[in-house]
């Protein structure tokens, strides 16, 4: 048990862990994380199985990486605790035995005599030290007095506060990992969705995409209403960088799109034999739309693709969700006879006529295509996040104390010698020794020569 304590208290372990965590983390940035098995097989061939079984493909969630982090946390705790007691004694404890001889071995020191009663000498020096924010402790000895003056004692604990902060962050991280929930909530305008494990619903009232003058996306804005038991509670606009927080959940604008499964289409029908003929048909996909005409009696759109492309195996598919190359598979029927059948393209109105349906007497143009926009909100519940902010605050406060709040200590021995008081003072500072030296000199110059 004791040797285990020693093992965890050693800075050497901390250093080994720093190096191991660093190397493991680098490995995780070299191997793409969380991809499909097929992608790994294509990339690494025979090694891919080994990578997966060593959890290198989800390294930051792997058992061994988390174990390293836990070990790091444990090491931090034990290291900090084992140094805490001695530090407390140094900062707040009673004075260690001090004699004038010892003080004269310090680098920052001063020795002089004052023709004053010892109490007056003590009061003068104590006053000067207090005016520079030193906290004093006093003890007596034969024919003399010892003063212990300390300031910025919190500076001693900077590194401990950093370590505490890191520990809180680690706890926060594990809390987030174990208790966090997130789910994508796709919503069409007017649609309401239940939030998993929560007693409220959200409704999308309006969704807008704003563009810059040159066409780049400027912002996505979802106007969202929170409902409890069907009654609206609040309405807010959710934007990227402006999430909505409600009931322990945060809602983020994460994605958007159009409901191309259910577009509203408008087709223009022409006849080759009659250039003056033009008829507009508005319809939905799959809808059998009757037409009052001698050459055909109904029109059907079998399929709509927003960004038409022919993929592997001659399969028709959409390259993206953007309407870059909208296409509709249109059929026109006269009784049992199909008088037109083929793909028509909004951006290439002449293409279909020449090829697929070139033999037909009819020609179709895809005039309009609209679909309801939808917004994807991410509903996230992260119970660890407040630990993270608290931990970050502690780390930064600790850094400030450790680097910029160096503790200082001055010890003064006053002895009565031949009717005078001999003052011996010595000081120690953890950092910025030059400024400490000048502060020390000023204090004891004034003590020697009162203004």
């Amino acid at each position: 048990m004791r040797s285990a304590g020693k093992f965890f208290a050693s800075v050497k372990l901390a250093i080994v862990l720093f190096i191991l965590i660093t190397l493991a983390s680098i490995l995780g940035t070299l191997i793409p994380q969380g991809r499909s098995a097929a992608e790994y097989a294509a990339r690494y061939g025979g090694l891919s199985g080994l990578f997966v079984s060593l959890q290198l493909t989800r390294l930051y969630q792997s058992f061994w990486y988390l174990a390293l982090l836990l070990l790091f946390g444990l090491n931090t705790v034990v290291c900090t605790l084992s140094r805490f007691g001695p530090k407390c004694r140094r900062a707040f404890g009673p004075m260690a035995a001090t004699d004038a001889q010892n003080l004269m071995t310090l680098k920052v020191k001063s020795r002089f005599r004052l023709a004053l009663p010892i109490d007056a000498a003590k009061d003068r020096i104590a006053g000067l030290l207090r005016s520079r924010h030193y906290i004093l402790a006093e003890s007596g000895r034969a024919n003399g007095i010892i003063l212990l003056a300390r300031k910025r004692r919190m500076g001693l604990f900077g590194s401990d506060i950093v370590h505490l902060g890191l520990l809180v962050i680690l706890i926060g991280g594990f809390t987030s990992g174990l208790g966090g929930r997130r789910a994508d909530v796709p919503l069409l305008e007017g649609q309401t969705a239940d939030i998993p494990h929560a007693a409220f619903q959200v409704r999308l009232d309006k969704f807008e995409t704003e563009y810059y003058p040159r066409g780049e996306v400027k912002d996505w804005k979802s106007t969202v209403t929170v409902l409890e038991n069907g009654a609206p509670v609040l309405t807010r606009v959710v934007e990227v960088n402006h999430p909505l927080a409600y009931g322990g959940y945060s809602f983020y604008q994460t994605s958007y799109g159009w409901d191309w499964e259910r577009p509203r289409l408008e087709l223009e029908v022409r006849k080759r034999a009659d250039p003056a003929f033009s008829k507009t048909v508005a319809l939905k996909v799959g809808e059998r739309m009757p037409v009052d005409d001698a050459d055909f009696d109904h029109v059907v759109v079998r399929q709509f693709i927003p960004d038409f492309v022919i993929g592997e195996g001659n399969k028709v598919q959409s390259r993206s969700r953007e309407p870059n190359n909208p296409a509709a598979l249109v059929e026109a029927w006269k009784g049992e006879e199909r008088v037109f059948g083929g793909w028509i393209f909004a951006k290439f109105p002449d293409f279909g006529q020449g090829h697929v349906a070139g033999q037909s007497a009819l020609a179709f143009v895809l005039k309009k295509y609209t679909a309801a926009p939808y917004s994807v909100l991410e509903a996230a519940k992260d119970p660890g996040v407040n630990f993270i902010w608290l931990g970050c605050l502690l780390v930064m406060v600790g850094f400030f104390l450790a680097f910029y709040w160096p503790p200082r200590e001055i010890r003064v021995v006053l002895d009565e010698v031949q009717g005078k008081v001999e003052v011996t003072a010595g000081g120690q500072a953890a950092k910025s020794r030059e400024t400490f030296q000048s502060e020390f000199d000023r204090i004891f110059d004034s003590a020697r020569r009162p203004a």
Binding site: F18, I21, T22, S25, T29, K218, T254, D382, V385, C392
Partner: protein
Amino acid sequence: MTESTLFTIAFALYVGALIVYFASLFVRREKWTRNGLALAAAGLVFHTTALILRTVVSRHAPFTNMYESLSFLSWAMVLALVVFSRKARVPRLGPYLMLIVVGLVALASSPLMPKEATPLVPALQSYWLWLHVSVTLLGEAFFAVAFVSSLLYLASDTEEKKERLDALSYRAVAVGFPLFTLGGLVFGMVWAYRAWGSYWAWDPKEVWSLITWFVFALYLHTRIVMGWKGKRSAIIAIVGFLAALFTYFGVNYLLAGLHSYT
């Protein structure tokens, strides 16, 4: 005057500072070192004006693409030089730091870097962009000071010089490490939480800033607790700056992730 004119003037002054600084190494006169610093400081004034003007014209923070952030990083390095050159009493800091600055500014001015200010994608429209990027790059500028003084340490011969360089390197880390932690990790997490809904996603850029952080944590622990100083400390500081550089530069080009906006 336009932003690019001001930037060019700053560039010219930096090159001037570099030349005067290197001359000072050969003539070994303190006056030349001071003149080098004065030229660098003059360049800093023009550079600052250029950054402000760009911010006013583009109406967003001047570090949203590689050109802008390189410009800001070199600005921060000159600032770090001005801050440290008085106290450090290391005459060779100026020449070698300015060498890096001129290299970065030249890279920023090269035709490889698109210079026009582009409208911000939605994720970047946040005041956290200001806080996250500026404080991180400022921290990295101080890492650059530690890097230069550590390299000089390895190259120097006398004990007195070595002691000063070692102290300078530590002082630069003492400024750079808290800034990098605050800007890169803390502000980065806050922003990620606001924009993406999770404060940490193990994105390559995030992991590399963590790696950089661990290297400097190693620097501090080996130095303060184990008493490593000098050569070994210098090597860790050099590795730390290279990790920071990779986080800033390499990740964007070599590893894909959330942070690849361009």
